[in-house]
Symmetry: C2
Subunit: 377 residues, 2 copies
DNA sequence: GGCGATTTGATAGACGTCTCTCAAAAAAAG
DNA sequence: CTTTTTTTGAGAGACGTCTATCAAATCGCC
């Protein structure tokens, strides 16, 4: 009935050695005779001992100090990413993980470096940042790592930086998926695909475009790819470049927008004359605007990178590295395709993976401010 | 640098009351004057106190005892479900969750009841089972629940049983998604969709079919739906019913198979004469056969219910109920669409690049994974 | 002021692990 | 045989919370 799970003391008794010896074995302290090691291992096996993580964490009383640096600005995706992080904060704190969320101007390598400098001085175990292809950032990442700070790139990798890991989707695969979807939607008919990117210098944008191009050219020879629109993720630019194209020629049968600035695209689409067939439209990332457009039938599909999964994986990875263990093998995050029908419900926060934490809510609520406080000994 | 997160003692000191009073407040023990409650709450807020779940779990030293009952047999999906559960076992044990995984003949209500009886006698906190529409099962579920055992239905609901929750996808949404996908793939052309189900009496199959029908008839009037093939999830039956259809008429432009027995469908598809255009094919659930077919280009898309997410949600939910708290509001699991390009890898690969992996040092902390390895050996 | 009821304080043991220290025992080396 | 080295044992204190118990203080009420 109420059987107890075996503890280290049980293991010691079963192995016929002392607790100290068992401890030396399971915590790799060395200085144990081989035969004792074997007996301990055997006892662990026999009893089915599994370390009680609650007790282990408690005894170490370690607080992990992580930081996430997210671009600020109007980009809805990053706003969403930030919101997910904020929502995770309290939950994480209950597991003694102190997550600092910092904003930074997008694509400003120097500001990022400065922020990283400040962070590293405040004592921190790991940091997650959105990678850019930038030499000074790469160098700063190297500095942090040699100072023993774990560094992850999130959403977009930093190609030449010695980061511990990249957590995000494979953007080439995302582009290929878009290409497949667009190809399928033509049902064998001819067509012309118009790609829109923010900047070709952004690795993720370039990779998505390349992936789409690959799939379309190799699998759908009846499709043609129009010259790429560079929209800098700004909706006015996108709109201004797009309008003449749709006005002057009616041969665009599909649009693939790999980045931001989609408000401009959507305005153009919504204002198409009734006679003109709307092209197949595939966007990235479920942000309010894109969701609305999909619900309205203005676009056809959204490819999402599931930011909540990215964040969960990033935190798990940071923690593994901070513990000096090999990061847990997490499944790669796959780009997910959403149509109007299987669009997730509005509250994205509910997507947050169900934790295994016992979260018995105390009657009191913790404030969101000044969680971590210096406390006198 | 070495700041500590606040503890209940810190809260007590800050509120100017004793630890005992704080404890009474946060654990709802009653008998505390209103003004004290307010002071404690204020202190919690000010300090940003968050309960240390590791310590809480440890002090309670509670072991959750759950069971999952999964149909045995050749159904690849359930084999997969079982494998996922097995893989979770050790991880769960570390969190003091003892998960028992039991097999049972599929669709055998009496055997299920018998098993449930035995389980309930061994003392168990909760059980997850694949629901069937069966009166004796419904009654047994009611018994368990009144005995204080949490009961979840997994993958398929038990319509009239008073289970605590159903964890699975909305099958109507899945069908609608299939309908949308099939519609899109026709690119405006006419077509005829052939649905294949195991049995119309299976609620999930019926709902998927209904969802597909809904979307296709309302959004794609150029598409026609052929009479439904009932294949009983057996590949020979499916094959035998399918062959004459593809031999005699060439008007089927899409196939939607909602259940099992797809080996038969795949054989027919692979043997289609070169001249005959392969129809658009949409299946359910990433099982080895379906994966292979998608990789080979024999089918176009797989709609998956992400069993690993279902299991995570189920366990989280069981735990909530066992703790007598309201289960976390988990959103319905959404059917996910996979094409060849974004198919999850077979094994569990990681995006973490091993070249940059952290070295484990001798002075490193003990790792959970190490312990697990020891047990595995 | 005195009564009973309510509220508060002080404290102790338990949970399982980690990290120490110190001494004792066993094994290996001379 | 000693001496040195390696290996083992025993135990204590810490982590933060939960759950007790019992005594002391405070309150409301007559």
């Amino acid at each position: 009935m109420q059987s107890r799970l075996p503890t280290l003391s049980d293991v010691a008794r079963c192995a016929g050695v002392s607790y100290a010896t068992v401890d030396r074995v399971v915590n790799d302290r060395g200085g144990v005779a081989e035969k004792s090691v074997i007996r301990v291992r055997k006892a662990i096996d026999e009893l089915g001992y599994v370390r009680n993580v609650a007790a282990a964490n408690l005894s170490q009383n370690k607080t992990y100090r992580f930081a996430a640096i997210i671009p600020t600005g109007t980009n809805q995706f990053f706003q969403q990413l930030r919101a997910i992080l904020e929502a995770e904060r309290i939950r994480l704190l209950a597991d003694r993980i102190d997550l600092r969320i910092e904003g930074i101007a997008a694509f400003d390598g120097e500001a990022l470096c400065e922020r990283l400098d400040i962070l590293s001085q405040t004592g921190i175990d790991g940091v997650a940042l959105v990678g850019t292809d930038d030499d000074i950032v790469a160098q700063k990442i190297a500095e942090l790592r040699s100072a023993g700070i774990a560094v992850l790139t999130l959403v977009s990798d930093a190609p030449n930086a010695p980061r511990d890991a990249y957590i995000g989707i494979d953007n080439r695969v995302a582009g290929q998926t878009a290409g497949r979807l667009i190809g399928l939607c033509h049902g064998g008919a001819c067509g012309r695909v118009l790609p829109i990117v923010g900047a070709l210098s952004a690795p993720d944008h370039a990779e998505r475009l390349e992936g789409m191009r690959e799939t379309v050219t190799s699998l759908y020879p009846d499709l043609d790819i129009a010259p790429v629109i560079i929209g800098r993720d700004e909706h006015e630019i996108v709109e201004n470049k797009l309008r003449p194209i749709f006005k002057n020629s009616h041969d665009i049968t599909a649009v693939y927008s790999v980045g931001g600035g989609n408000a401009g695209l959507l305005r153009v689409l919504r204002s198409l004359p009734d006679g003109q067939n709307r092209p197949i439209v595939v966007l990235h990332d479920i942000v309010p605007q894109a969701r609305e457009a999909l619900e309205d039938g203005v676009i056809d599909a959204i490819i999402d990178q599931r930011p909540e999964v990215e964040i969960a994986n990033a935190l798990s990875c940071l923690r593994s590295i901070a513990d000096r263990r090999i990061p847990d093998v997490t499944d790669p995050i796959l780009p997910t395709v959403y149509f109007k029908e299987n669009l997730p419900p509005h509250g994205r926060d509910s997507f947050v993976r169900p934790g295994h934490a016992v979260n018995r809510t105390a009657s009191g609520h913790a404030s969101k401010s000044r969680i971590l406080k210096e406390i006198d000994q």
